[in-house]
């Protein structure tokens, strides 16, 4: 089965990225656009653009049945969901299947099961992949201390209902447990009207390491190495790199192997990412979740492997056998990506949409820019604030960091405020330069260092 025309149920840079992959493979592209995206770059370079609804995503990009109806109505034989929006909606994948449209991704069943955190955790345990001790809901101090008895200290107590650090407590000594539990419960109750708490092992010196896997429908699974995404602000990735620095080779192999085992025991198909939390002090890693789609940060993997992941997604979706055995994959050099968001770091990173009056990206052989923006483009207020992904390659990590630093200096954007200057500060942080950062670095910088005001 071959893919002749694909419907792209997404927007922004990933829509552009997918359309270019189609052009490279000789596949026709039909792009879904909301009223706000009619004149977007994606709409210009796609073979056809179809208006699927008003600007608001809930009335356009988020309506699965409309997407599939549009795919069928425009005679597409496949649909690529990109990331975000409906990319991990089992319903979209199911609707595609029901209407004879090839979904470029895993089966609806696989999306559903991995989308359920409890189920995903159960699967990982079934495949002997370590999971974070605890992570259970507790309604009383007694339940909490029972969990602690099993996980050991320190533990993190947080509101089951909400995120954003509200009602979050770190407990290091047994003595504190009762008081901290009480405070956390009342905070949670006040904030979310639900005082149920969540207790899990707290990892003080953690890194976010994820493994890119690629699987075909014939049971072949390979990994394309891991990425480190430890620079996060409130769990939002800001800077990603590949490979993960400062990782003992034995540990690196274990993590990669675990990801491949999960994907292959699970019978996974297409591109996916297995996320782990790495305890740098104890040299151990724990399964977090599996993302059943192409990821924002996939370019850093492409830079060090030379493989076009989106093209390969189309190949395996079309039923082709993987073109690569694990031994065919050659890892070389180091790549870093900065997610350029139209946000104001000095004002709590609030979105800063608007017209781009100057757009002069740096250019060089080892600089790559994935973006849908251009001079005169109006960054709409309706969608997320990412306007570009700036990616650099270096023969080693130090060269990649230097190249990124200069690339940021040479990237001139006027109109919306961006996170670039802040990201330059991040990659210049000693802890990042020597690869000993952890997932707390960004928030610590923001909390402690008030130069954050003038990034």
């Amino acid at each position: 089965m071959t893919i002749r025309r694909v419907f792209i149920a997404n927007r922004g840079e990933i829509a552009v990225r997918i359309i270019r992959a189609c052009q490279g493979l000789g596949i026709e592209s039909v792009l879904a656009v909301s009223e706000a995206d009619r004149d977007s770059l994606g709409a210009r370079i796609a073979d056809r653009a179809v208006c699927v609804g008003p600007a608001s995503a809930t009335e356009s990009y988020l309506i699965a049945k409309n997407m599939v109806a549009a795919a069928v109505g425009t005679d597409c034989d496949a649909l690529h969901p990109g990331y975000g929006f409906l990319a991990e909606s089992p319903d979209l994948a199911q609707l595609c299947a029901d209407n004879g449209v090839t979904f470029v991704g895993p089966s609806p069943e696989q999306i559903r099961r991995m989308g359920n955190k409890i189920e995903a955790r159960r699967l990982a345990e079934e495949f002997d992949i370590p999971t974070l001790p605890g992570s259970t809901r507790v309604g009383s101090y007694e339940e909490a201390s029972a969990v602690v008895a099993e996980t050991g200290l320190p533990v993190m107590i947080k509101a089951a209902a909400g995120g954003g650090g509200k009602g979050m407590r770190i407990v290091t000594g047994t003595g504190q447990l009762r008081d901290e539990f009480a405070r956390a419960a009342s905070e949670a109750g006040a904030a979310f009207g639900d005082s149920t708490l969540y207790v899990e092992k707290f990892i003080a010196n953690a890194r976010h390491v994820e493994v890119q896997v690629l699987a075909d429908s014939h049971g072949n699974v390979i990994h394309l190495g891991e990425r480190d995404c430890s620079l996060q602000r409130r769990h939002q990735k800001m800077v990603e790199e590949a490979p993960a620095p400062n990782l003992p080779e034995a540990l690196r192999d274990k993590i990669r192997e675990a990801a491949v085992r999960l994907a292959s025991r699970f019978g996974y198909r297409n591109a996916g990412t297995v996320e782990f939390i790495l305890d740098q002090d104890e040299g151990r890693f724990y399964f977090l979740e599996m993302n059943t789609r192409i990821q924002v940060e996939h370019p850093v993997t492409e830079m060090i492997t030379g493989i076009d992941l989106v093209e390969e997604q189309f190949r395996v979706a079309a039923g082709k056998t993987l073109r690569f055995a694990q031994d065919d994959i050659v890892f070389r050099g180091h790549a870093i990506e900065c997610r350029v968001n139209a946000e104001m770091p000095e004002e709590g990173f609030r979105p800063s949409p608007g017209r781009i009056s100057v757009w002069q990206p740096p250019q060089a052989p080892y600089i790559r820019l994935d973006s849908h923006c251009h001079e005169g483009y109006l960054v709409p207020m309706f969608y997320d604030s990412m306007i570009a992904k700036l990616i650099v390659y270096g023969t080693d990590r130090a060269e990649a960091i230097d190249r990124m630093t200069r690339a940021i200096d040479r990237f001139h954007i006027e109109g919306p405020a961006t996170t670039l200057a802040f990201q330059k500060r991040l990659i210049c942080e000693p802890a990042f330069r020597d690869g000993t950062m952890n997932t707390g670095l960004v928030d610590r910088m923001l909390a402690g260092n008030r130069e954050g005001k003038q990034p």
């Binding site: 653009a49 609804g53 109505g73 757009w359």
Partner: protein
């Protein structure tokens, strides 16, 4: 190489002169005339901004330089009729557009055997259905919204229509 002006006749030169005069008498600031291989600009003050602001060639976009691709269907539908911009087709004065409230497949009749809901000349009230739009077996009636007479039908039966696409035009009764 022969005369640069081979492509310009004496008459052309004269006409350009006329254009200049005409513009001069007018209150306008500039005039730009572009033909296949010919382009003339006359004006006062700063040069004419060549539409740069609107949709500039984008560094990121090899094809951004070409005219903005309308999101209108190219294959299945009479594009002009579907184009968002009314300008896409000379439209008679005072007609009211009835547009698709959702994307989907347009049906001009309740079922294959029946007559169309409306044809050119049909009298309609705000509540009258002018067609159905089907999305995944779900049918949505499209109503005229005004009282008047159907002046144009812009889409075909069973055609896939986009959100906001003009389905028909109605001449409101005075």
């Amino acid at each position: 190489m022969t005369s640069k002006f081979d492509t310009l006749s004496e008459a052309d030169i004269a006409r350009i002169g006329q254009l200049v005069e005409a513009l001069d008498k007018s209150g306008f600031d500039y005039l730009t005339l572009e033909l296949a291989d010919f382009r003339i600009t006359v004006g006062t003050g700063a040069a004419v901004p060549d539409g740069v602001a609107a949709a500039p060639p984008s560094p990121a976009a090899p094809v951004a330089a070409k005219a903005p691709v309308s999101a209108a269907p190219q294959a299945t539908a009479p594009a002009a009729g579907a184009a968002p911009a009314p300008a896409a087709e000379p439209v008679e004065e005072g007609l009211v557009d009835v547009v698709a409230t959702t994307m989907g497949r347009f049906y001009s009749r309740p079922d294959p055997k029946s007559d169309p809901f409306v044809t050119v000349g049909s009298e309609v009230t705000p509540e009258s259905s002018v067609g159905l739009i089907e999305v995944m077996k779900l049918f949505n009636a499209v109503t005229a919204g005004v009282t008047g007479t159907v002046a144009q039908i812009c889409v075909e039966d069973a055609q896939f229509v986009e959100y906001g696409q003009v389905l028909c035009r109605i001449r409101p009764s005075a």
